[in-house]
């Protein structure tokens, strides 16, 4: 993700070597991903589910797939 977007920096942290970081982020099991010090993802997820969970809170509204977006537009009442 870091390679794909210049705003993103991704760090793999070896938890046993940095126990202070593991404590700070309450790492009790791995893998554990922490996004912007707020969003926590436990375990390994399928790729797209992971991306959605990682960024949902930090990007505006339109996280739905383009298909869903088109369907919703059809439902909008025309004035």
């Amino acid at each position: 993700m870091a390679f794909a977007n210049p705003h993103i920096t991704a760090t793999a942290v070896e938890a046993t070597e940095f126990p202070d970081l593991a404590r700070k982020y309450r790492v009790t099991g791995v893998p554990k991903t922490v996004v912007n010090e707020e969003v926590e993802i436990l375990g390994a997820l399928p790729q797209e589910a992971f991306v959605v969970q990682a960024i949902a809170q930090f990007t505006n509204g339109d996280q739905r797939s383009t298909q869903e977006g088109a369907r919703d537009k059809e439902k909008e009442p025309s004035n």
Binding site: M1, I8, T11, V30, E48, V51, F58
Partner: protein, 147 residues
Amino acid sequence: MGLLSLADQDQLRDAFAELPRPVRLLFFTQTFGCDTCPQTRQILDELPLLSDKVRIDEVNLVLDQDTARQYGIDRAPAIAVVGSDVSGEMYDSRIRFLGAPSGYAFVSLVQAILLVGGRESLLTNESRRLIAAVDAPMTMNVFTTPT
């Protein structure tokens, strides 16, 4: 080479052979208080032997604070993966590793080298679309343990 099996070496050699562009691993160390720096050096030293496109540049956290600051590194051992674009300009991939890259982290490091060196991304189109929407600084820390 001690750490990689011959089969692993061959596999990596083949994977790296197709790297379109060189990759530089900036290895941040400090002389004291870094128990796993020697182990990290040992792991990293195996890689240039498998490809002339991979090189390791050691950066001392204490002696080269400008570089450390540039890459946002304040602990050791740490690795920043740096690529070259087609005109040879270096660029930061913003991929980092904190701690000795053993076990699963080593696999991730190899994947990062392949990605930054120009091999195909593993991201789906949908993932790319979602990721493109990020327009503010974002940090992702992935915690692992050596397997």
